[in-house]
Structure formats: C-alpha cells, structure tokens
Symmetry: C2
Subunit: 177 residues, 2 copies
DNA sequence: TAGTTCGTAAAGTTTTAACTGTACAAATTA
DNA sequence: TAATTTGTACAGTTAAAACTTTACGAACTA
C-alpha cells in the first residue's frame, strides 16, 4: 500500500466511524459519510463529484446535501465562472451540535406544552364541575399532578435548549480543557 | 361524552404528543405510547394488560418493555402472590433524560476517539517518513489538524455527558425556574 | 431559437425496521 | 409426573425508509 492510500484509508476509517455515530442523532449513515467526505475535501464539491466519490445517484446527493444544509452542517458556496452548485462542510462542530438540537427539539417541546395546557384546562374544569363523580375527580387530580410535572420538565428542556442556542453552555462546559 | 371519557381523551392526546416527541430521541411511536400508558397508570401493569390496552401483540409489549428498561424509563416491580411480571414507569424524567444520552453516546464517543487516535498515529508516521512525497505530506498535515479538531470536539462532548451523568448540569440549568 | 446542462420532483425498487404468530423453555400448579 | 401459565426467541409478514431511474423545468450556451 502506498503512502497516499494510507492517508485515504485513515480518512475512510474515521468517516465511517463518525457516520455511525451520527446515526444516534437521526442522521443516516450515507448522509453522515457525505458530510465526512466534504469535511476532508480541500475544495468545495459539486453534486457530480460527490456521486462519483460515493458511488451513489445524483438525486441522493441532492437530497442529502439539502438535509445537511437544513442542519447547518453544509453550506452552498459561490464561485465565479462555476455553473454547478458548490458545497462545503461547515467547520464549527459545536455550532452544528447546538443547531441540530435546537432545530429539532424546539417544535416538539412547544407542541407538547400546548397539548399539556389544553389537557390541564379541561381537567380543571372537570374538577370544578359539581356534576363530576368523586371517582373521576380523584383521577383528575392525580392526572393534573402528572401534567404539571411534565410541564416543569419541558420548561427545563426549553431552558436547556436556550443555553445551547445562546452558547451559554460553553461557559459551563468550556471548549478547551 | 361523559366525564370519564374526557379524562381519558385528554390523556390520550398528551400521550400521543409525547410519543411523537420521543421519536426525536430514537424511541418508536409505539414504544413511546407504551411509556405514556405506564406513566398514567395508577398501578404497575402486566404484559397482558398492556397488550389489551394498546391492542398490540404480547411479543411487542415484551420487547418494548425491555427497551424501556434498558433506557431506565421503566422498572420491573415485585408483588407478592403475583405470577406475572409487573412494570411501572420511572417517574424521574430528568434522570431518564441523562441516562438516555449517556448510555447511547458514551460508546460512540469513545469508539470515535480511538479511531481518531489510530489514524493520527498513522499520519504522524507518514509525515516523519522521509520516503513520503511532499504532496502527501502536506495533505497529511492538513488531515492531522482536522483529526485534532475532532478530538477536541469529542473531548468536549464527553465532558458534556459527564455533566449530565453527574447531575452537574442541574447546577447550571436548575430544575425549578 | 434550439440544444445543453444542472438540479430536483415523482414514481418505482430495494433495503431495513416494526410488528405478529408460532413455538418453546422455564417456572408453577395440581 | 403431567398440565398450565408466562415470557421471549425465531421466522415470517407488513409497513416504512432509503435509494435509483426517469423525466422535466430552469438556467445557460451557441
């Protein structure tokens, strides 16, 4: 094996490991590999270059790249005289980490919160209604406690995401040891 | 609709919302629903009760419950005179949150770190080898920087997980507002 | 204007994951 | 000991996701 091959093999090994890891965050192995390819590429790449490099269809590259763009892990680059779209890997992984979670979590959290509030409102009406049987009332009171607990939790989660978005998290867990 | 139904409908609505949310963490909608069922259940449940309640197979309940146990979101309960296994929802969501991420992330992180270290070692040998061409050498030097960056990032991630596991995170982002 | 090239939508195929039914080992009961 | 019950492994099926091929509009080129 020549020296160049050694370098490429080392890259490949790491890219694969990284892609496996990303599947924990809901990123496909293939999409993860594409990110790795772009991360090590010295120049921005076109869809055709990606498809040749990874041996996949151009359509897959197109959708994968869009996915990575939505996660702020890849950005489009403009180059004069170049007709094709060029893409490069975003190099701030801490930023990507924050963005990944804020983006995907925020919506879910607020949906959950409004669902809880709606249910809470209904249950409180139930408890205050004199026609409600005692049996149902005690159940309702128990449920209200559980909703309240959940509400507190989602509030915490929201503040957690806040600290990611605001980079405050890096005050508590600094980047360099 | 009677009062009891209102209560159940409110539960159902929230459970569904919660289960959808959980899919972001890699938990299936069905498994999420099972957790919700157990969360609101006033008593620990058997596999048969779960399957009747959710209209699914007993096998599915068995695997789902095991999954939730591995995530420390559900625990087996012993009750005298009861032949069947009983399960109840773990009620500390902050604990579950921490456990979920520590468990699933730790392995991946350390795998990545050792992969990087292996690649770094090889590349350094490459750079120090007088037979390596200058072209490959410059590529290797660039790659080494990228590996180093990744290494720093995974170190940060490790410390992040540390602060989840040690509950230190709650010093920075307190549970109650 | 007609002919290319590029990116992506849409439909079709393949692969993977979720779920079910059957079967069986272990524990329990008679 | 034989007969039940309980939980789960395993194989098979169904549902979902990933990926490819085809096709086409938009932008560029001659």
């Amino acid at each position: 094996m020549n020296e160049q091959d050694k370098l490429l093999k080392a890259r490949d090994r790491f890219i694969d490991s990284m892609a496996k890891n990303m599947s924990l965050y809901g990123i496909t192995h293939s999409v993860g590999r594409l990110y790795g390819l772009l991360y090590f590429s010295e120049k921005p790449m076109t869809l055709d270059e990606m498809k040749d490099e990874l041996g996949m269809s151009k359509t897959s590259m197109s959708t994968a790249v869009r996915q990575l763009q939505e996660l702020n892990m890849v950005e489009k680059v403009w180059k004069k005289g170049e007709r094709k779209d060029l893409y490069q890997a975003a190099d701030d992984w801490y930023e990507s980490f924050s963005a990944l979670f804020s983006t995907s979590w925020r919506t879910g959290i607020s949906l959950n919160i409004s669902t809880i509030n709606r249910s809470l409102k209904e249950l409180r009406a139930l408890v205050e209604n004199p026609e409600t049987s005692d049996e149902v009332k005690t159940s309702a009171v128990l449920d209200i406690e559980k909703y309240q607990y959940a509400l507190d939790y989602y509030d915490w989660l929201n503040r957690f995401v806040d600290s990611l978005e605001s980079k405050e998290i890096f005050d508590h867990i600094p980047k360099k040891e």
